[in-house]
């Protein structure tokens, strides 16, 4: 067990489990297992349901690649470095990177496994959207998947061809859709218009052509006779048994246009696997929009979750086809190698708990955005998982946590120094700057000679979440005329909520200052990106102007 103690040296040598757990046994999970084992690690593969049953077209697999992909199943099944668990559910995940203990339940057996890292590779699911159009599924009103199946079977395909069917496709009115869906529609359309006598009408809102080859395919279908109606809202559809009618208003010719197709194909959406949310809860990772397992935050890209050692790939994190999902798999392999290496690692400690001060209130456990904290009889910080943001240190009511590079004693010293620097005839401004964003922007503003206040001093912090309320008040007490806390934009904090903590503390400070009759003007919170020297300069100059006028 890697326990932090007061006496701990800065470097810690850690032995890690080198088995890697992969959750999800579809073609993304299989590829993950295969690539991890090629890199020299053993794999525990935990299928969630009948993952490989998924329709190939949904994963956007070229026909030419089908056999190669199917071969993955045998390859992985015969791979002695891959242990395939029976269909199971992950019910518990304990531990830290390099040392996770996972509990799977399968039928009525419980399987406990050790893993150095966990890869979530769940599949996507298909959701038909007929109800949004008010359509009832019928032999002549089918979903995109069903239509793909009709074309895939020789028998039903012939029937369509022999009856010279006219097919209307509805795309992009029930939801915005994606290039992945658009490609499926266009593939079906392309096949259909290639059949003598058949025709295709595509009623579409925004044509999502933002992927390789799609614009070409779209134009090809048009040249082969497909008619596209680009509309801003869904056409009016009447479904009366055999009879179908689709009508829309054409604004140019100012007329209604009605057509009577033989078949209507309605769109589907690709949604997150239904197990994602419970996996997120068990693994303590942040779910993102629409049930996918990654928040929209560029620091997480491509395959990171908020917890070190837990990776999310493919359709577990976004709507993605196989090609893009396998890009994720390759990136995940890089991250696993970087983390686990050959199984031992010397790592510098970023944060330590003073075991004498810790009263095990678990504030730190709750606030750590990276799930880096566990406990025995005191809080323990995993050096591998800790990202050194310092949120815990600033939140701990017992002041029991210190960051090695930003101890409170050092910070107090830096604040004192900064507030002591005199600039003639200029207000003194102390700016606490997150090292990921505002500090970079500030240094850029200097490098590019933007006009900056003469009395400006920057104090680098690992994350705005490390700015204690004491720091702010200290800076003012030590003589600063103004204090700025400059964080990352919301949604861009590497530690997810560091900027939010900082903002809360500023609000707290406002209240405290108000009690002693000091005006708000001398304290400001703002957000910035590393590349915006200009915004940095504007914010600090604005503050100088404001407090400068007050001083005069």
């Amino acid at each position: 067990m890697n326990t932090n103690t007061k006496l701990q040296t800065d470097m810690e040598k850690i032995d890690m489990a080198t088995d890697i757990a992969v959750i999800g046994g579809g073609y993304i999970g299989l590829k993950a297992a295969s690539r991890i084992s090629e890199s020299g690690y053993n794999v525990i593969l935990a299928p969630q349901h009948n993952d490989t049953d998924l329709n190939f077209s949904i994963l956007d697999v070229p026909l030419t690649e089908m056999d190669r992909i199917k071969a993955l199943e045998t390859e992985v099944a015969n791979n002695t470095n891959v242990e395939i668990l029976p269909m199971s559910t992950l019910v518990e995940a304990k531990g830290v990177p390099g040392d996770f203990t996972l509990k799977f339940v399968s039928a009525d057996t419980v399987l406990e496994k050790k893993a150095g890292a966990v890869v979530v590779a769940t599949d996507t699911a298909v959701n038909p959207l007929n109800h949004i159009y008010g359509l009832n599924p019928a032999p002549n009103v089918v979903s995109l998947s069903e239509f793909e199946n009709l074309l895939a079977s020789e028998e039903t395909k012939k029937e369509i061809q022999n009856n010279e069917k006219t097919v209307a496709f509805l795309v992009g009115f029930a939801h915005e859709g994606s290039p992945l869906l658009m490609k499926r529609v266009l593939n079906s359309v392309s096949e259909l218009v290639g059949m003598d006598g058949c025709s295709a009408y595509v009623y579409v809102n925004n044509i999502k052509v933002a992927d390789d080859g799609l614009e070409r395919l779209y134009k090809q279908c048009r040249d082969n006779g497909t008619i596209y109606f680009k509309l801003q809202k869904a056409p009016t559809i009447i479904q009366e048994n055999e009879n179908l009618s689709v009508t829309f208003h054409d604004p140019v010719i100012r007329n209604d246009i009605e057509l009577n197709p033989d078949i209507i194909v309605y769109e589907e959406s690709l949604i997150a696997d239904k197990t994602n949310l419970s996996l997120a809860e068990t693994l303590r990772i942040d779910p993102g929009p629409m049930g996918f397992l990654q928040k929209e935050n560029v620091h997480r890209l491509p395959v990171n979750s908020n917890r070190e050692g837990i990776f999310v790939v493919g359709s577990a994190r976004d709507v993605q086809g196989l090609s893009k999902s396998w890009i994720d798999v390759d990136n995940m392999v890089l991250r696993v190698k970087q983390l686990i290496g050959d199984g031992t690692k010397s790592i510098s400690t970023k944060a330590v708990v003073d075991r004498e001060k810790c009263t095990i209130c678990l504030t730190c456990y709750r606030c750590c955005p990276h799930g880096a904290i566990s406990w025995d009889d005191k809080a323990i910080i995993s050096s591998l998982a800790c990202q050194g943001c310092g949120i815990c240190a600033s939140e701990c009511p017992m002041e029991a946590i210190q960051l090695i590079d930003f101890t409170d004693a050092e910070m107090t010293e830096r604040i004192k120094e900064a507030a002591a620097v005199e600039a003639p005839n200029a207000p003194k401004i102390v700016a606490f700057c997150c090292q990921n964003s505002a500090y970079e922007a500030g240094m850029a503003a200097k490098a590019f000679n933007y006009e900056l206040p003469a009395g400006l001093q920057l104090i680098k912090v690992p994350c705005a979440g490390k700015v204690d309320i004491h720091y702010i008040l200290d800076a003012l007490v030590e003589g600063a005329d103004g204090v700025l806390v400059l964080a990352c934009h919301h949604g861009n904090c590497k530690s997810e909520s560091g900027n939010t903590y900082a903002q809360w503390r500023i609000n707290d400070a406002y209240r405290k200052l108000a009690q002693i009759g000091i005006e708000k003007d001398c304290l400001e919170f703002a957000t910035l990106a590393s590349n915006m020297a200009n915004d940095f300069a504007r914010i600090v100059i604005d503050m100088e102007k404001r407090i400068g006028q007050k001083k005069d």
Binding site: G40, K208, D212, L334, G341
Partner: protein, 411 residues
């Protein structure tokens, strides 16, 4: 065992990412960049945040540049091109170093050369503070400025010779990350780009916003109040034979528009488009916000006419009325797209790897788009086709992963 050596051609976000990943895996990397700066196009971009980050990815480039510059396993070769590549048990590569360049080891970033030779335009400044050195010699202006260049630097950091110099390097594998060319909007003559000063490209708007924080009009430096974005300029254009969507111009236009609007709620923004492409998982929500803030017109204007005060007139079709009206804008932004790098043909011959019908590098395997017909050459980023920053990075990661697999580097 000697650490393997990989050459990466092109130091944009894709090349930098591949370099960093391989260096992290313990390999030695030569990163060859033709221009005087690392970072490629994306190091020039502005943050597009509103009250929150809109996930444009621009700041990831800043971070990667910093990481690459600080990594001693990456040998950065600026102002350098590939002269010749020969395959023999790996590759022998002759590189060509520009006749004049700034030596990063000696340059102190004092900027004296830049200030003194401002009029000659022979020294250019990097976009990021992490560009090392922060200045470079403009290759187009070397010949007429050789003498001035020789004496200007007090540190003697500017190397000037009669001719380009050559050096031989070896590599066990190659990653091609030579990126894209932005569409040159002069090719769409009726938009009056380069004729009317307030018709600018999306790339220029990126630089302007990054530098000054607001949409400064080139004609007078004033903040524009009424802006039009024209989408698909150069992309999805049958007349030009460009049968691809550039994938990035809807996202950058919408994000920038929202970001500008956040700073100045009175700003009047119109987007002319054919189809709006997604920005990411939160696109449905984001698009709703956009629809509240921005006027969307689903038609692409054909002409732009000059108007008083360097303003611009455009004809628009009003769907509700079914009529056409003329409207005036004070800034028009052409959302230019991603074109294949004009050097791709030369590079494809040098390396004996194929291009696709559009002129991007062709992947040899259906599902792995970093693969080429040479199993020791990989493609990364927009060299393969349009991609945003995040996708270029992920693609480069896959290329790096492929290199490691090819070289047999396991845990």
């Amino acid at each position: 065992m000697k650490a393997k050596n990989v050459m990466i051609i092109g130091g944009g976000i894709a090349g930098m990412t591949a370099a960093w990943e391989l260096a992290e895996a313990g390999l030695n990397v030569d990163l060859v960049e033709k221009s005087g700066f690392l970072g490629g196009h994306a190091i020039q971009y502005t943050c597009k945040a509103t009250a929150e980050c809109l996930q444009c990815g621009a700041c990831s480039v800043e971070k990667m540049l910093k990481d690459v510059v600080g990594n001693d396993k990456i040998n950065v070769l600026l102002s350098t091109e590939i002269e010749n590549i020969e395959k023999n048990n790996g590759y022998s590569i002759k590189i060509k170093k520009s006749a004049a360049f700034i030596d990063g080891k000696k340059c102190t970033n004092c900027g004296i050369c830049f200030d003194k030779l401002k009029e000659n335009e022979v020294i250019i400044q990097g976009y990021s503070k992490n560009n090392a050195p922060l200045y470079a010699v403009n290759r187009e202006k070397i010949d007429e400025n050789k003498i001035a260049l020789k004496d200007v630097c007090p540190e003697g950091a500017i190397s000037v010779s009669d001719k380009a110099s050559y050096e031989d390097l070896t590599a066990d594998a190659i990653v091609v990350a030579t990126g894209f060319d932005p569409f040159n909007p002069e090719r769409k003559g009726t938009y009056g780009y380069a004729k009317f000063s307030n018709v600018i490209s999306g790339l220029e708007l990126e630089r302007i916003k990054r530098q000054s924080g607001f949409p400064a009009r080139p004609s007078d430096g004033q903040a524009a109040q009424k802006i039009a974005f024209i989408q698909c300029v150069g992309s999805r254009d049958e007349n030009l034979g460009n049968l691809w969507c550039s994938q990035v111009c809807c996202p950058y236009a919408l994000r920038t528009a929202e970001s500008l609007k956040h700073k100045n709620p009175d700003l009047d923004i119109t987007v002319f488009y054919m189809d709006i492409q997604n920005t990411g998982k939160s696109f449905p929500e984001f698009y709703e916000t956009c629809k509240n803030d921005i006027r969307f017109i689903r038609s692409i204007p054909v002409d732009i006419f000059p108007a008083e005060n360097d303003n611009l007139n455009m004809r628009l079709f009003d769907e509700a009325q079914g009529t056409t009206t003329m409207e005036t804008f004070d800034l028009v932004v052409l959302s230019i797209g991603i074109m294949p790098n004009s050097e791709n043909e030369k590079l494809s011959t040098q390396m004996d790897i194929a291009l696709d019908a559009d002129g991007f590098f062709k992947n040899s395997e259906g599902l792995n788009k970093t693969s080429t017909s040479n199993d020791d050459i990989f493609i990364a980023g927009t060299a393969q086709g349009p991609k945003n920053i995040a996708a270029s990075m992920a693609h480069a990661g896959q290329a790096a992963s492929g290199v490691l697999k090819y070289l047999g580097v396991t845990k």
